[in-house]
Symmetry: C2
Subunit: 401 residues, 2 copies
């Protein structure tokens, strides 16, 4: 018998708190989870029905809260405990919750206090290291739900600098060593050893991350949310803001192979403007957002390449074994962010590294904390019927799949 708290895991980052939870098809636990999803206390969650994964006996679901609303998250989780207690079959609540991410330390008391006022009473948080959880979630997905369905990459057309349609990742390539790049408020760069049980190690990171983009956009533009700023960046151009190689040279810098269209200095064009760049109408919000996004993501692509070089040189296996850089994390979104990362990694690595993405990119830490909870969840219940299991796209209508 599962406890209801064993069916949930929370990954609390500096900006976003991500939930992964398992909803069995039948029994008191499934009914309790379904009741919770219909409850007003869960309405604060941003739901991700398109990411739901069918397993042998239920559905894995994903959603997120703002970490600034830790109180709302805590209230909702406490309500889940109450719903389990109120179920006619009197489901077991449990006294431990799997968590990961730095916010689980910072907001520990908020969560514990909410449980203390609920039917759960005293609940202790069981933290997984966030890098280990990320790697565990990634490996679990690759091994049990199929790389081709869960991960994808693009090729770059060098002439038009446009991306191909998404290409499914082949299973063989998913078992090689990889670099995992987690884009949250900040950035972590991990080396994942090939194979299903390989360890993950944090090699480096960057403080220029997702919250840098959004923090700067709040200062520079009128966008009200992170996702609005990303949408703005999609429509903007870096070229009115960034100083390009051609702005310095008048053309390319051929001696070192820098094309004229390469950014020489982010925000550099602002630095030499004759007029005041703060005057209204001088700069478009969309262009400022795009230039900021390029600053952040191009730098992440460069640091990822340098770390991949470092890993490859330490392996000394003759041929480089490492080809895939998986980008993930709570502040990564499909679309323009992928465009910049794919072309950036292609530029910095000279085409030797491949930018790959996971549909569950925001939820790998939460998933890792959930599947790493060895105490009582039966791992087999979380596994797909077929290893190439596709997304079930279960509607999040409260009725279940």
């Amino acid at each position: 018998m599962h406890t209801v708290l064993d069916a949930v895991a929370v990954d609390m980052g500096g900006s976003l708190s991500k939930l992964a939870f398992f909803e069995p098809d039948s029994g008191w636990l499934g009914e309790t989870i379904r009741a919770w999803r219909r409850h007003p206390s869960y309405a604060f969650a941003v739901k991700e029905p398109s990411l739901s994964l069918r397993t042998k006996s239920g559905v894995l679901r994903f959603s997120r809260f703002e970490t600034a609303d830790a109180e709302a998250l805590a209230t909702s989780l406490a309500l889940l405990a109450d719903l389990a207690a109120e179920h006619p079959d009197a489901g077991e609540i449990g006294d431990r919750l799997a968590v990961t991410g730095g916010g689980a330390f910072k907001h520990r008391h908020t969560l514990e206090a909410a449980f203390a006022s609920s039917a759960a009473g005293s609940v202790s948080l069981e933290p997984s290291d966030e890098m280990a959880a990320l790697a565990a979630g990634f490996r679990f997905l690759m091994a049990n739900h199929g790389p081709a369905a869960q991960s994808y990459w693009y090729t770059v057309d060098k002439d038009s600098m446009t991306l191909s349609a998404r290409k499914p990742l082949d299973a063989a390539s998913a078992s090689l060593d990889a670099v995992l790049v987690n884009i949250g408020s900040g950035v972590s760069v991990l080396h994942l050893d090939g194979g299903p049980t390989g360890v993950a190690r944090r090699i480096s990171g960057s403080s220029i991350g997702g919250a840098t983009f959004w923090g700067l956009c709040r200062l520079l533009t009128k966008y009200a949310t992170f996702d609005e700023a990303i949408a703005g960046a999609s429509a903007g151009s870096r070229d009115t803001v960034a100083m390009l190689v051609s702005d310095i040279y008048g053309s390319g810098y051929n001696a070192v192979g820098l094309d004229g269209s390469i950014v020489a200095s982010d925000f550099g064009k602002i630095s030499t403007m004759a007029h005041n760049p703060r005057e209204p109408g001088v700069l478009r919000d969309a262009d400022l957002a795009r230039a900021t996004l390029v600053l952040v993501l191009n730098n992440i692509a460069q640091i990822s390449t340098l770390v991949a070089d470092k890993i490859a040189s330490s392996q000394d296996r003759g041929e480089p074994q490492l080809a895939n850089v998986f980008f993930m994390g709570g502040m990564l979104r499909p679309g323009v962010m992928e465009d910049i990362l794919v072309t950036g990694l292609d530029f910095w690595s000279g085409g030797s590294l491949r930018a790959a993405f996971s549909h569950h990119q925001n939820y790998l830490g939460a998933l890792g904390a959930l599947v790493g909870n060895k105490r009582s969840l039966e791992p087999s219940s979380l596994v797909a019927t077929h290893v190439d299991g596709t997304l079930v796209t279960a509607p999040d209508d409260g009725v279940g799949p």
Copy 2:
């Protein structure tokens, strides 16, 4: 006999144009150069009398113009040609000018047009590759004017995180392999082979450079100049702007050895502020400038460390030979920028790399273009009387040393 144009070299970057020139103690050339320095057309130059270097037969001098004022620079150089022609001894003007930097390509026509309207007539620009010029200037200074007088480094007190007084660089360490990091509008990272004739190769770079700092400061603060923004940053704190590890975890992230005071996300605190960060009085200009400077320089320290790792791993000499990272470039200033680079490099490299600086950090490219002009300048005239030659601190009063 020198020509007057052979006594000058110009390094035109995206933001600043740097001049290095040789003023003989006696003869028509020295008199012409002294007359030029007194002339109103040279008044646009920011002079650097404290950097002047005594040589066997004269003084090497340094100054800079804004690249945006390329017209003023061109007018002044054309006037120098006119002054040579007007000298009673009718000095030779020459028809070639040593240049380097991307701006020399972009502003070629501006310079050529000014010479065409002067006594010089047709003058062709002779470009040196800017990375080669940088390395040549650096090597020349180390070999001929003494590392102890021209370069310095600091130690870091780990408890107070404060820097020691400047320490002179020892000659032995100056002949090791080094990483040269040029901070202009953008950033270039070079590997300089040890020894006086070793080659320099551009390994990587970053588009997050000096003009990124100043471009962002023009948008975020009221500072009117780059140097005002640097002075502001000296007085500011990153902690109201950046999200620290302790802001996420409530403490340090011990599993991966990240202290709570480390920046987790530049500008991350802005991203989660409940109130509007654009409202007047919410943020201080000095703090915004400091946070921007930390973003730029901490990233440069990290990329420098990753490149140094890459160089060391490719050398395969058993013991790492590389210890010094020399920071230089037109947008580097003593003071707060050095503080951040020294502590940043110490953090990223775990203390294995040493941040070193050169008094002539802004002028190494121009100096390299000058001493690399093999056509007619006698190299011996540019060499110090003693190899440990110190700065002469020649007053720039128009009268000469």
